[in-house]
Symmetry: C2
Subunit: 115 residues, 2 copies
């Protein structure tokens, strides 16, 4: 039973997603070696990270432009062809750098929260 969220909290959580979605998507791709958009959505849902198409497709396009991921087309028996994404070497390095920053952020906030 979900309560409707305070608009303030809603907005702030959206901002929080900005910092983590890109990392989460890179992790989801890394985890599966190869993934197309629906795989990523499913993988993130499993981890309670919601992402919608209007967010994911532009994000994948950015990752592509930055050469963090590459893709290949694959035909599907049950619909249009799919773009399967995989991490490039550059993507693996970026993922590693982001994880480091992420851990530093956790450390900082943990320290701030300690009385």
């Amino acid at each position: 039973m979900e309560q409707p969220l305070d608009p303030y909290l809603q907005r702030t959580l959206t901002q929080m997603r900005r910092g983590t979605l890109e990392l989460a998507v890179l992790l989801a791709i890394a985890r599966q070696q190869e993934a197309y958009a629906s795989d990523i959505v499913t993988e993130l849902e499993r981890a309670n990270q919601l992402i919608v198409e209007g967010t994911l497709y532009p994000l994948l396009a950015r990752l592509r432009e930055e050469a963090l991921v590459s893709y290949r087309w694959e035909e599907s028996a049950s619909g249009p062809p799919r773009k399967y994404y995989q991490l490039t070497d550059r993507g693996k390095h970026a993922l590693s750098a982001l994880q480091t920053s992420w851990h530093e952020t956790i450390t900082s906030l943990t320290q701030l929260a300690a009385k």
Copy 2:
């Protein structure tokens, strides 16, 4: 010795800050009971969270509009008067809610990162 950052990483880290700065500022105020802008900057620097004036002042104004903080003026012997901020009850609740979301996010990403 700081290396100049990859512009991509730079941008992404800025996005990461979006999600955490508001939480960090609320924590910094809570920690000190009362704080003015410079106190907050100092407190965050100590935790390795950089924040600049052009970010902090608008953020404090937003917190004020949302009634998460209130302030009182205090004269200073060494310059212009200062605005000392403190959390309101609503602010304490919001802080608590944000911390909960923050921990959930950590859990999600930790789960995604686990092989």
